[in-house]
Amino acid sequence: MNAPNKSGWKPEMQVSDDGFHGGPATVTGNRGLMLEEPLLFEIGRADVTGVDLPAVDTSAPTRLGGLAREQAIGLVGLTEPETVRHYTRLSRQNYGIDLGFFPLGSCTMKHNPRLNEKMARLPGFADIHPLAPQNAVQGALEVIHQLGQWLCTLTGMPAVAMSPKAGAHGELCGILAIRAAHEARGDAREVVLVPESAHGTNPATAAFAGYRVEDIPATPEGRVDVAALKARLGPDVAGVMITNPNTCGLFEKDFREIADAVHAAGGYVYCDGANFNAIVGKVRPGDLGVDAMHINLHKTFSTPHGGGGPGSGPVVLSEALAPFAPLPFVRKDDAGGFYLVEEENREERGPSFGRMTAFHGQMGMFTRALTYILSHGADGLKQVAEDAVLNANYILRSMEDILHAPFGASGPCMHEALFGDKDFTNGLSTLDVAKGLIDEGYHPMTVYFPLVVHGAMLVEPTETESKAAIDQFIAAFRGVVERALEGDEALKQAPYYSPRRRLDETAAARKPKLAYEG
């Protein structure tokens, strides 16, 4: 094991008056490879461009209807070398999976295979127009169709809607299908039940679709309170939104029973598939009574997170909801060709609830996800789920002797291990541990989520970490946790070694400065 410091290690701070550590201040503010970078608007010039274009012939006649721009836009430009350097220097202030372990629970920060990037950039995928005649884009339609079929295979569901643009958009798709299905049978229902441990997107989505949201409590062992849920079912309840595996990192073992009860009461079951990576190739949600489930291609199938997107959120649908799937969708014809069903295909579109986005979904993510599935295959995907779950349990059992694991006694966890901050002393909190981990060279885990655990720390290692990397993380995590248990005052000021120290978020919100002024 290659642990950087043994458990209990404390940093010895050498902070000079101007905040620099272990050495004198520099003229530039840089510290060796840690480089400061001004804002674009402080270094760019209005008359500089990094693109060579024909000079503007201002005397040429235009047909702009008298609306030619008179005011300056206020943009600035850089030449190519300056641009590359500016953004390269900015990139070095970021933490990414390529740099180190990124156990952000629920977000699934696994390695992004570079073959996926290469395939998405093939001109046959990257340089085709969404409204090109369909006879000119048969390969693209085949990608959508093939990926959709395999998502159905992996989930045991009969149908899929491919157009949703991200997980929350997929949730919206599923919830709209549920509303449409109820409307089609003249059954107006107003309430969607959401467990209190749910992602914030669940209640936000249900509300966005016009539903009233009611919370369902969790049991002390970290699962949905089935009795409470059943008691609330009735003719006003349109459905439930349940994450499985749930945000406490546990499999909802009573899912089938819940689904049967919801169906018996005339409702539908939405499964938040954000954590599908824990069970892909091992468990088919279709066997558990799911009516709709989104799949975050950027989680389970490792399309890059890109600093906050783009995602992709195809939704698998049950027989009951399939007819209401959004437009457009891809079908295969008798001759082996592929075609889009859009607004005009009146018979085939059936009772579709309509269009959710301008075009056909996140094609660039589809090619990456398809590449990922082809690379892993049925055997590799099963191994993905097993290794992700193994790594999480290993962390859970390697930490629970010193760190409160509220559901550690509930049995094995799935792909993520959940901890709480109840034993920390001297006012230290989860936030301090997270910032301490930054100094150790890690991206912190998800913090303060799920809401059902005080000071939650949700650790998701994923399957793409070696045992050595996980052991090193455990050593570092234990070290920081021990400092929190001992009440180490220095932790309250962490991080010390990142490009920035703690940022004043209160000031940012009080007087928002959201664009460069000057």
Binding site: A55, L75, L78, P130, L131, G380, S466, S498
Partner: protein, 457 residues
């Protein structure tokens, strides 16, 4: 398996630490009925890079690549030249493999980039504040309508007939479920948009008027009277832009009084990609509306040492804090596409964007003049930027487009595809021209169009 670092020895050691006899012991909570014994049926087994690459290349080869033929498609997605350095930057692992900057101390790269992005978008749109992106132009359009209903506490949106029909459909899909009322219309096939008709549809119940600029037929007109009419009735003006390059040549929506400006940012940096991922842009002219905006916002602040830094801010609007009371359910947005946009925009700068816009317009004028000389063809627009509408003298545009594709020319988007079943629009063709179009491409389109029209009944 090349992506999985654990060895069997590792796995055994880890199971021992956990106290589990086998991996299946970790899946005991999964009901028997849902557990699969072996690898799932219906999928191939794992494959080498080489084999996967072969498979994907075979699929890619079945598509007609835009860059390899004369290409004139637009209607909300435009083919522009993306400088090589854009892709180099967005493939840096520190950007590509980062996530939403929840830990700002180690995400200043993404955050500063977003602050630059927000500034560029706000200035391009003539607005005060832009957000850190949404999924695409069409979803941004609905978010704008939803925001207008919150701001005005009214439930009726008036859509211009010349709004992209897919955008209008997205708005109508959502409004059906939220109970908002959408008044839409078909575009009138006229040389100038019917702004008086639009203004006449605004009343005291109207939350917002939604106008596209340039519109779906490529027309451009001064929207100041629409803004004034909307404001007089207490409604907001939402302007939708699907071609940001246009704003290098024509007045910004903010200058004309738009309250919310949304659009598609795909033209800069992102590429065609068969429709996604794209880049939703969203901005407001008046800072007082900031707290009703959807999506993430990046703001400037200082760190504990007083150094300037950036954070996600005003999060109390968002789903992870406000849950069902959030302004939107959006979480993941289009971060990497925003980076591509910003790098491309930085390379262009004020001067480059204006030159790029001028070149687009010059070539579009050239194409309009040449195509107008094709027998049976008329240019509808009085004014346009880089896209205009051709009337094909009663010939069916969809059939002609398919025929042109068979002749190796991607000739445009037929209005019949966008407005299926509307007879009045079946004979119109949208033609987009960008800096990637050559004069030879234009000549080729003119000749093939002439031949196709002659042969099409």
């Amino acid at each position: 398996m090349r992506y999985l670092p654990l060895t069997d020895t590792d796995r055994q050691a880890m199971l021992a630490k956990i106290g589990a006899a086998s991996i299946d012991d970790l899946f005991v909570d999964v009901p028997e009925v849902a557990r699969l014994d072996g690898p799932i049926h219906g999928l191939p087994m794992h494959a080498s890079e080489m084999a996967v690459e072969r498979h994907m290349k075979a699929l890619a080869a079945k598509n007609l690549v835009a860059g390899e033929v004369p290409f004139f498609l637009g209607a909300g997605a435009y083919r522009h030249h993306v400088p090589a350095s854009v892709d180099t930057i967005i493939q840096r692992g520190e950007f590509l493999t980062a996530y939403t900057p929840y830990q700002p101390e180690i995400a200043q790269g993404t955050l500063q980039m977003l602050f630059e992005f927000q500034t560029q978008v706000a200035r391009l749109y003539g607005c005060a504040v832009a957000n850190a992106s949404l999924y695409d132009g069409s979803t941004a359009c609905w978010e704008a309508v939803a925001m207008a209903t919150r701001v005005t506490k009214r439930k009726r949106a008036v859509l211009s007939g010349a709004l992209h029909p897919h955008y209008a459909q997205v708005v109508k899909t959502m409004a059906h479920f939220t109970g908002d009322e959408i008044a839409d219309a078909l575009p009138a096939i006229t040389a100038e948009p019917d702004l008086d008709g639009l203004i006449a549809r605004i009343d005291e119940e109207t939350a917002c008027v939604v106008v596209q600029y340039p519109d779906i037929l490529g027309r451009i007109s001064d929207l100041t009277p629409v803004a004034e009419a909307a404001h007089a009735k207490g409604a907001l003006l939402i302007v939708v832009n699907t071609e940001p390059v246009a704003l290098g040549a024509i007045r910004s929506p903010g200058e004309m009084g738009a309250d919310i400006v949304v659009g598609e940012g795909q033209s800069l940096g992102v590429g065609l990609q068969f429709g996604g991922p794209y880049l939703g842009l969203f901005a407001v002219r008046d800072p007082k509306h900031v707290r009703q905006m959807p999506g993430r916002l990046c703001g400037e602040t200082v760190d504990a040492e007083g150094k300037r830094g950036f954070v996600l801010t005003l999060s109390t609007r968002e789903q992870h804090i406000r849950r069902e009371k959030a302004t939107s359910n959006i979480c993941t947005n289009s971060g990497l596409c925003a980076l591509a946009f910003t790098v491309h925009m930085t390379l262009l700068g004020e001067r480059g964007l204006r030159e790029l816009a001028a070149e687009n317009h010059r070539l579009a004028c050239l194409a309009a003049d040449r195509l107008a000389r094709v027998p049976g063809v008329e240019v509808l627009n009085n004014a346009f930027f880089n896209e205009f509408t051709l009337m094909l003298g009663g010939k069916p545009a969809r059939a002609i487009i398919r025929d042109l594709a068979d002749r190796g020319v991607l000739g445009g988007v037929s209005l019949g595809r966008l407005y299926p079943g509307v007879e009045a629009l079946e004979h119109a063709l949208l033609v987009a021209v960008t800096e990637t179009t050559t004069e030879e491409d234009i000549e080729r389109l003119a000749q093939e169009l002439e031949a196709s029209i002659k042969e099409t009944v």
